[in-house]
């Protein structure tokens, strides 16, 4: 045997042992409670009472991890590991334990027999760790419970990280999800020079929970074409014989790394590098590989029956106990762990150096690398308020100027993500300082496209959210701007990110990361042109269900408030901030100083609009841009026609301020709440969203029974802007009528009530004839 061949042979033998050790630790986590290293015969009492976890995907993940370790060492790579098939939690736990990271972040679980016993016990055990790759798992930036977002997270991590390689295992189950199916296209946005690299490894083990998987069942030819069509260079590693598979995987990974290095090298000398064919690997191994061939006369390896715990009833069934003992023994733990229960040094040497371990890589605990944003003084972007109501300009348009300044100062660690709506959302000022990043082909009619830029646009809310999450989790900053109605597309992704953030609060070694900032515009009240399909303000309801410590909802009524809120959100950590703001030209109300004070208070009386002298007859309140407009117009009508009526106007910008102080950190005390809304006067509340949310927030406030909330009632269509509010009874005329109904002697106000009715008829007639709102509506300005 040649020296080189012998060296390789020895290396593969050690990798095989490393893999066996990881497999052993994985089975142990699923099954064992005591006797972790089989120092004595396995007994039923050594086995956990409740068997949980997923075996099927685990040996494949262990195989990949061991081989990535090899190339990291050979090439001194800066690499992180994204585990798409997150149910394979035992694998990432086992590997980060073997490499030493686990014991460093969890010193109570040392690298010895006692540590292994604890490692086993805690898995899927009360007070222990989840069965999926999760926030608790060192090296993870992807919660593996809900499937489909791994590759987005991987690409998000790679943007602006030119030295990083993100290895991302994609399960053939999750490959069927919509988000994953489009995430392969992320390569059309990755700049080989200024970004990092994503190395996708599609792991075909053939089955999901109980079904075959599509990609494992379309034949080699279609599969190859599919990934070539996605723009990758696929390498296939297929088989079930460990020895042969080690050789093949090592060779293939060497080739892939060499491709990557060649691409990176070539791009170094290019100003505008072309999109390369990045390598990807298709790894086809049997589901439950190395597990028991058959269980109870049914196939286990290579069958969906090995998806979760391949067999249970170990306490009751001696055959199963024997099966487990033989299975565990098949990995020969005595060849892997020394007397103390520590991995033999020679095997342990297969792991990379401490700083190169994938579990310890700082990019996977992005808060460590977080650089503060260099933020401009937001006051410099203040809209000068000529009088309350003027000028008449787009709030997001003004925000765009501020964001452009943020972008200019923070290129390389701040990005804006948007599903093809950036210009539509009036944030175009960003293009004065940056472009959209784009590696597709170019066309003379393209505008603002470049191989490098701070704006990411793709017609996929999933991609925007997933990329941004990956970008944030690796220590950078960003903003997702979206049409309000279609943000529901990522409801479920938001859940998972909120859960991740909540979990991190209890994980001391996870450093704070920048908040997830979502700007919702093109909102329900200005989708009169696109119609009902574009009208839904319910994302706030969804967000409000998340843990109060994590979530914030802001409804700035004008540009200055929007800018001060944006500044606040960009500075925050570990939160989900949702800002709802209009893009259409609108009246501007507050100067920057007042805006800032108002946003800080969360909700406050706008004294210039009120005439109540501390003792109102009625409170008109609102949250949101259009509700503010209609409320103020209603106030204005009341002041004109009923000057004796004492009206207070309250604006709510921080929706969470309505919640009790005990429930949300931004909640107003009952005292402050009662100061604003009184304890006994009617409150006519105009809300941007569904009225139920206000009731849900305020139901146990003193004066809640006097709250009359108007908001979106699913009465939407293609019509005029003002008709949208009329259809939902949120317009100035109906708000006035609502006030009058609540007055002690409503019959006193018949005249004004009739006037309001006639205004409403006039409106309906006018739009039917002219297709636009009456001039008095279009041109209304605050005059009091």
């Amino acid at each position: 045997m040649h020296k080189r061949t012998a060296r390789k042979h020895h290396e593969f033998a050690l990798i095989d042992k490393y893999w066996r050790a990881a497999n052993y630790l994985s089975v142990g986590q699923i099954y064992l409670y005591e006797n972790p290293l089989l120092r004595r015969c396995l007994e039923a009492s050594d086995v956990k009472p409740r068997l949980l976890g997923h075996w099927g995907t685990t040996p494949g993940l262990n195989f990949v991890y061991a081989h990535l370790n090899r190339v990291i060492k050979h090439h001194d790579l800066n690499m992180i590991f994204v585990t798409g098939p997150g149910h394979g939690g035992p694998a990432v736990v086992a590997n980060t334990y073997l490499e030493g990271t686990y014991s460093k972040v969890y010193p109570e679980i040392p690298q010895n027999e006692q540590g292994i016993q604890k490692l086993f016990k805690q898995f899927s055990f009360p007070g222990g760790i989840p069965s999926h790759a999760s926030a608790q798992t060192p090296g993870s930036i992807n919660e593996g419970g809900e499937l489909g977002y791994a590759l987005f997270h991987a690409y998000g991590a790679a943007f602006d990280n030119p030295g990083l390689i993100v290895a991302c295992v994609v399960g053939d189950g999750e490959a069927e999800t919509g988000p994953m199916a489009t995430s392969w296209h992320s390569n059309k946005f990755l700049n080989p020079k200024t970004d990092g690299v994503v190395l996708p490894i599609l792991h075909l083990n053939g089955f999901k929970i109980a079904n075959p998987s599509i990609l494992a069942r379309i034949g080699h030819n279609e599969l190859r074409k599919l990934f070539e069509g996605y723009g990758y260079k696929p390498y296939f590693v297929e088989g079930d014989q460990p020895e042969e598979m080690h050789r093949l995987m090592a060779k293939t990974l060497d080739k892939a790394i060499s491709d990557i290095q060649a691409i990176k090298k070539k791009s170094k000398n290019e100003d505008s590098p072309k999109r390369p064919s990045w390598p990807m690997i298709v790894l086809r191994t049997p589901k439950g590989w190395t597990g028991p061939e058959r269980v109870d006369h049914k196939p286990s390896v290579g069958s969906f029956h090995s998806h979760q715990v391949p067999f249970s009833e170990v306490h009751e069934n001696p055959e199963h106990l024997k099966l487990l003992a033989n299975w565990l023994a098949s990995y020969k733990p005595e060849e892997l762990f020394d007397n103390e229960g520590k991995l033999f040094d020679e095997i342990a040497s297969m792991a990379p150096s401490e700083q190169r371990c994938m579990g310890a890589n700082k990019h996977a605990n992005g808060g460590i690398l977080l650089r503060e944003l260099d933020l401009p003084a937001y006051q410099d972007y203040a809209v000068s308020i000529k009088k309350h109501g003027a000028p008449f300009i787009s709030s997001t348009g003004e925000l765009g100027k501020y964001l452009a300044a943020v972008m200019q100062r923070n290129q390389g660690h701040f990005r804006v993500f948007c599903p093809d709506e950036l210009l539509s959302n009036r944030l175009g000022a960003l293009f004065t300082v940056t472009d959209r990043q784009w590696m597709g082909e170019n066309h003379p009619n393209d505008e603002h496209m470049s191989t490098q830029g701070g704006v990411m646009e793709i017609l996929s809310e999933h991609a925007c959210e997933g990329w941004l999450e990956g970008y944030l989790l690796t220590g950078r900053h960003g903003l997702f701007a979206c049409y309000e109605a279609f943000i529901h597309i990522i409801d479920s992704m938001l859940n998972q990110h909120a859960k991740w953030l909540k979990e991190c609060r209890d994980i001391p070694w996870r450093e704070p990361i920048s908040s997830l900032n979502i700007l919702l515009t093109s909102h329900v009240w200005r989708q009169d042109h696109n119609g009902f399909s574009h009208q839904d303000p319910g994302f706030m309801d969804h967000v409000a269900n998340k843990k109060p410590e994590i979530v914030r909802i802001y409804l700035p009524a004008d540009a200055n408030t929007l800018i001060t809120v944006a500044d606040h959100c960009l500075r925050s950590r570990d939160l989900i901030n949702v800002i709802v703001a209009g893009k259409q030209p609108q009246q501007q109300w507050l100067d920057m100083e007042s805006s800032t004070a108002h946003a800080k208070a969360g909700a406050s009386i706008w004294k210039w609009a009120s005439n109540d002298d501390g003792n109102p007859d009625v409170v008109i309140a609102s949250a949101g841009e259009i509700p503010a407009l209609e409320s103020l117009a209603a106030v204005s009508i009341l002041k004109k026609h009923l000057p004796q009526l004492k009206v207070r106007y309250v604006n709510v910008v921080d929706l969470m301020s309505l919640l009790p102080k005990e429930i949300h950190p931004h909640g107003l005390s009952d005292l402050l709440f009662d100061d604003l809304f009184t304890t006994d006067k009617p409150v006519i509340f105009a809300f941007h969203g569904y009225p139920g949310l206000i009731h849900r927030f305020a139901y146990n406030r003193t004066n809640h029974h006097n709250f009359h909330v108007y908001g979106f009632q699913e009465e939407g269509t293609t019509t005029t802007p003002f008709d949208m509010v009329v259809l939902n009874r949120l317009d100035r005329f109906n708000l006035v009528k609502s006030v009058l109904r609540r007055m002690p002697d409503p019959e006193t106000y018949t005249e004004l009530n009739t006037l309001m009715d006639s205004k409403l008829s006039e409106h309906s007639q006018y739009i039917a004839e002219h297709g636009e709102d009456m001039p008095e509506i279009q041109e209304w300005i605050w005059e009091n």
Copy 2:
């Protein structure tokens, strides 16, 4: 010139005229208010005051529609048209008008000049029609406002419709969405013998709102491979010269239809046909094709600037008025419409016969074709209740037996859709009568897979929802069974379907369709093993925001109630029914007769569990399986330890019954509500979901201030089932404590309170040591 060539030449000339007519009518819809056929010089006052709509994709859609008409006529095809790029609403309106369908369903818009004027005016006009393909559009089964679901709808329509061809245009913008990216894989589920055909037409016009599109910018080679990889046989039709494009499109469509017919013919003689390579077409035409080349010195055709209204300010800018006049004139309306404003007969003859018109095809108004389900007597599937609490069995397991009977009697118009969870959700009884339909490769270890079956499983909630919607909209029945947490993945799809159903209530020619039935199981309270990522009951909140007439939410607490509710839902029309039920073995409470009465009432007192004699000291209420268990266990503790306390137990199965009668058709009157919940006694309410939902529903009920609601508070992790409820204070011990706190003299009950505290400590200690719940919890049974 040969006779045949001349004939073709003439045919193409007529098709071109037809296309020009459709383009003319499209531009007219966007721009014109008066002077619809340019009988006089165009004046500014002829133009709408507010210009709305999307031109960019429209001429391509018109081109496709005209050519599909040609093959329908040539081959007498039964074809419907799904418009993915729904923003091209003007196109489908124009075409259904030209073919005559529009005037049939909307007689107020006849085929003459006056009709055209109305057609133009109503478009995106108050009181008119939306700018997207929508429920109002004859022939449409896809709302075009939110993108990404067209191909799912197309496949859903094709399942079990062997004689139907569904032509589906996919825009290159929406092709970037996750759902669309995976929907191409639907061909792995389509049986060429027993299902219909989907002919996808990918329309590359190169740009989205303001960005290039990915698929238009990856080169011909990658694009071809991508679709070959997806398993299709792609044909390319690319160009911008009408004459050449007509020739090419006709030839290509002939080829595609001939491929389809060959596949269908071959499959006729096969028991288990193999998956064929279905044809698909890639149509590449310039965005805004045939529109103005340049506007204000900027390119328009072939640029994103033509995405919406290519130019506005027609009233103010005479150049623009001239541009519009020339553009309209370029279609030569005088060659298209006769003196009355009717399409010349020879051109009109290019449309198919009345019954073959795509706008009039009955499959696109599925209610017409709806066959009632042949439902078994659900009473035959009753669980025999030995005593309250027994037997201890899985509720969805029992439902599965009933569903199997439904499936057996209704093969061919009833399907169950599930994201790889059918067995996990314990609905496996279905496999005694059917299989999963699957056209991928087979493996010896597969189970319950067949080329034809009533169960559709793919790991994509989007696919399940989208297919089912398409299946329902074409007049069939179905059920979507899903893990509760991950149903949020389709939140946005649900919005669009709910909007569709609401709109249809005002469209007299749309016949009622079968309801969308969603079964949520593997719910939050039994995801202790999968952990926090799998715990979210918030879909109910999302659904509750939809129009009350459309939505229903049921929380059956046992198998019999589940079965009676399911029977009710399967019989309903035009609704969205959400049923939340457990799959784990559980106590069974009600016999079938009581269940049915209870479900009909919506909420009722369970007298056998109460001892209040009509005048309770406290009401314990619950909605949901686990809340019922914990509530009843709390009742049982109270009865044992405080026999003098009069406790009433109320179970809520129809969540909407809590809403006021005026708001929801299922809402209880205040009288009935007060009868159940009293007007002054403490109500301890254990709820399956987030507590806020109960407050939002019940806030204006008499006794609401006495409601103390317990539910999911985002306190989830990997733990035991009982610990999940303890973490969220929904457990029996905390419920008892909550009752005691609300008693007039709480200090009287210190002993029981202390006992509850010690039980809680005992629980925590036990699970930390044993990893499972105390035997007294696991084995608790109702004994009173």
